[in-house]
């Protein structure tokens, strides 16, 4: 069995699913920004680099405020670009948090995914520090507030003989060197961020780095429009001898300032440090232990034909092909690295001879499970195959429509032989409901499933199966209405076909080895 969500994860998942449903209705699953949170952050970082490179030409470390004020007063080449830069940095924080939330809610934070989680948290930290240095660069009242309160917090660490906060007291004018170092940090941190992001995606195959073009450019257009309509504010020039009554604060970056003011710098520092520790320890806190931990895939080397499809399909690069020890039916054999395998089970669906998969979830296990189901299946009924997460929301509605629901761990794991067996077993049609492609918990399940059924991807649905009786759709757990409508349509379409006859002939489960080129 796949890992089951815990109570807090379930709550987070319920909220996420509701938000996903709303966005799916408005933007469709392909352009749902919540599904694309990770890629949107990358796109925003790109936008930040482009706008930042432009702004850097006008910034002077010797006169930080006046140079930014000059930019802000230039409506054509300064103001809106600076505003886009600022709003993009804010949006990057928002989408990073959405991404974090999604990964937590879907239980994708532990085991082999711990590296991605940890590097993601570090990337978020770098994003915050980079953003704060950006505000200090401006050296307006907000930049000064951030610098002063940040210094007070850092001064609780007994590592310097003199407090950093003395730099902002007004005893001496702030040196250009301070702004130079700050600017250096603002430029250098994104380089480190790039390295961390590389680490973040290093354990996934074919990482998707950018959102669909329409969504990406739509977001850029929205940010530009916002920058034109509501340009970013610039506070009064910083001075150590006057405390402004009110400061316009970017809460996404300066959420900690009221904490420092309301408690004490030490208390705020401890609170933030604990929050960071908590985030970093999520992989440990959410780790499934003993029986609750799903087992990694295993390869039955007697069955493996060395075709390489499982290693191609594996979304986590956990399967490699090695020389078959001692020779045998094929030159190569698949080998699963249990340290990398997240037990997603995608390989179960990609192996035509059903020789690989997590224990109890291989293609052969799926066939063994479906046989008694078929034995009890009334001829002419529509079977809906969906994952247990979706089934929780739809089962009753689908059954009220007259369909029979068969739950699987993940629709992307589904071996096409199961579909064939269902059709041959007398089902009038098989409707497979997968998660929306960008919301697949196992990354590429719906894509591979769809290609196996419609595009003859290896482990394909055999040509002898009437394609009119098989349909694949995607929906999230809250889209009951859409699912019911799709089922009604499918039932209406299959009703026009002749009544199927059960065919109980045994399926051929043995595959011939496939010749594989060494390259």
């Amino acid at each position: 069995m796949a890992a089951k969500p815990r109570r807090l994860e379930r709550l987070a998942l319920r909220l996420l699913t509701t938000a996903d449903t709303a966005c799916n209705r408005l933007y469709g699953s392909r352009y749902n920004p919540l599904y694309q949170s990770g890629t949107i952050v990358v796109a925003l970082l790109g936008l930040l680099i482009v706008t930042g490179l432009w702004l850097i030409f006008f910034y002077r470390v010797g006169a930080p405020y006046s140079s930014v004020a000059g930019l802000a007063s230039d409506a054509w080449l300064g103001r809106w670009i600076r505003s886009v830069h600022r709003y993009a940095s804010d949006a990057a924080v928002v989408f990073t948090l959405v991404h974090l939330w999604r990964m937590y809610a879907q239980g994708r934070s532990w085991g082999p995914r711990a590296l991605a989680w940890t590097s993601g948290v570090i990337a978020l930290g770098l994003l915050f520090v980079c953003g704060l240095t950006g505000y200090v660069m401006v050296w307006d009242s907000f930049g000064q507030l951030v610098a002063q309160e940040g210094a007070r917090m850092l001064d609780t660490l007994p590592i310097l003989s003199e407090p950093i906060g003395r730099a902002f007291t007004g005893e001496q004018e702030l040196a250009g060197a301070f702004f130079f170092v700050n600017l250096f940090a603002h430029i250098a941190i994104p380089l480190g961020l790039g390295l961390v992001l590389w680490l973040h995606v290093s354990r996934v195959a074919r990482p998707t780095l950018l959102p669909p073009r329409r969504l990406m450019w739509g977001l850029v257009a929205a940010l530009v429009a916002l920058a034109l309509v509501r340009p970013a504010t610039l506070g009064s020039a910083a001075t150590p001898f006057h405390m402004p009554e009110s400061v316009r604060v970017d809460w996404l970056y300066a959420f900690w300032v009221p904490l420092v003011r309301a408690t004490s710098p030490a208390m705020a520092f401890i609170t933030l440090a604990l929050a960071v520790l908590l985030l970093l320890s999520v992989p440990l806190l959410t780790k499934r232990r003993a029986a609750a931990a799903p087992l990694p895939s295993v390869v039955d080397e007697d069955i493996c034909t060395g075709c390489r499809q499982c290693s191609l399909d594996c979304p986590y690069e956990a399967i490699t092909m090695i020389d078959r020890p001692g020779g045998g039916r094929s030159a190569f054999v698949a080998r699963v690295d249990p340290e990398l395998c997240v037990s997603c089970g995608i390989c179960s669906g990609s192996c035509a001879p059903m020789g690989v998969g997590p224990p109890g979830r291989t293609g052969r296990d799926q066939l063994a499970e479906i046989r008694p189901f078929i034995a009890g299946l009334e001829a002419g009924r529509t079977v809906v195959v969906c994952c247990d997460r979706g089934a929780r929301g739809w089962r009753e509605s689908l059954e009220e429509e007259g369909a029979v629901v068969h739950e699987v761990d993940c629709a992307g794991n589904l071996h096409t032989s199961v579909i064939e067996l269902l059709v041959r077993g007398g089902a009038s049609g098989v409707l497979v409901i997968g998660c929306p492609p960008r919301d697949c918990w196992n990354r590429e399940g719906p894509r591979w499933l769809s290609e196996r059924i419609y595009e003859d991807r290896e482990a394909e649905l055999q040509a002898r199966v009437d394609r009119r009786r098989v349909r694949v759709i995607s929906a999230n757990a809250s889209e009951t209405g859409e699912v019911v409508a799709a089922l009604r349509q499918f039932m209406a379409d299959t009703a026009r076909l002749h009544v199927p006859q059960a065919d109980h002939a045994e399926m051929e489960l043995v595959c011939d080895p496939v010749a594989v080129e060494e390259s």
Binding site: E162, G165, T169, L226, R230, M243, D250, W251
Partner: protein
């Protein structure tokens, strides 16, 4: 849901999200709601060095490599000071100040931020040396010695450095008393002027 309605709602949602982003990005925060002024005492000064000096014997020097031979060897610590801040003659802050660093041999610093009522105020700041121990100025004249090779030049350099260090030290008593009118949310800085060895106030332009 019709396509037009969906498009309309999607646009409204996107516009709403963007405006929310802009609002969160620049939300007013009452950082200093009260019309108080602030008294900031911030300075750094070299504390008086309390040290015992002695002239090493010829045999001691002979045992040292040439580049480590000093005419006078001094050991000790730095003095401790009490900072007292009064506003309208009532004590608002007090602190013991020592030199920085683990061995307290670096410059001492003060950094205090005190909220005080705005308006007519009398500010009184005192920095008082509290140690009863004094340095023993046991620096004697030195004759050059061919064997140990500590020449008069090196000794003179040591003496010069010692004089400069002493000249930089903060006096045993510093006082500042000033009567002024503080504007609401004004920051009055009290700092130490190294050149004149005095405390002074610094204010921003009104």
């Amino acid at each position: 849901m019709s396509r037009a309605l969906r498009l309309g709602l999607a646009t409204i949602m996107a516009v709403g999200a963007m405006l929310a982003l802009a609002s969160v990005s620049a939300a007013p925060f009452r950082a200093n709601a009260l019309p108080e002024a602030r008294l900031r005492v911030a300075f750094s000064a070299r504390p008086e060095r309390i040290e015992t000096c002695r002239t090493p014997s010829e045999s001691e020097l002979a045992n040292l490599p040439a580049h480590m031979r000093q005419g006078v060897v001094c050991e000790g610590t730095t003095a401790t000071y009490r900072l007292e801040v009064r506003h309208d003659d009532s004590l608002v802050a007090t602190a013991l100040l020592r030199g920085g660093g683990l061995r307290h041999d670096r410059r001492l610093y003060a950094l205090r931020e005190l909220s005080v009522p705005s308006g007519h105020s009398t500010i009184d700041v005192r920095l008082v040396r509290v140690d009863s121990v004094v340095a023993r100025p046991a620096r004697e004249s030195h004759e050059s010695d061919d064997h140990t090779r500590i020449g008069e030049d090196a000794f003179a350099r040591d003496e010069d450095e010692h004089r400069r260090t002493v000249a930089d030290e903060v006096p045993p008593l510093l006082t500042l008393r000033d009567t002024l009118t503080l504007r609401p949310r004004e920051v009055l800085l009290v700092t130490y002027d190294q050149a004149s060895h005095r405390l002074r106030t610094v204010r921003g332009a009104p």
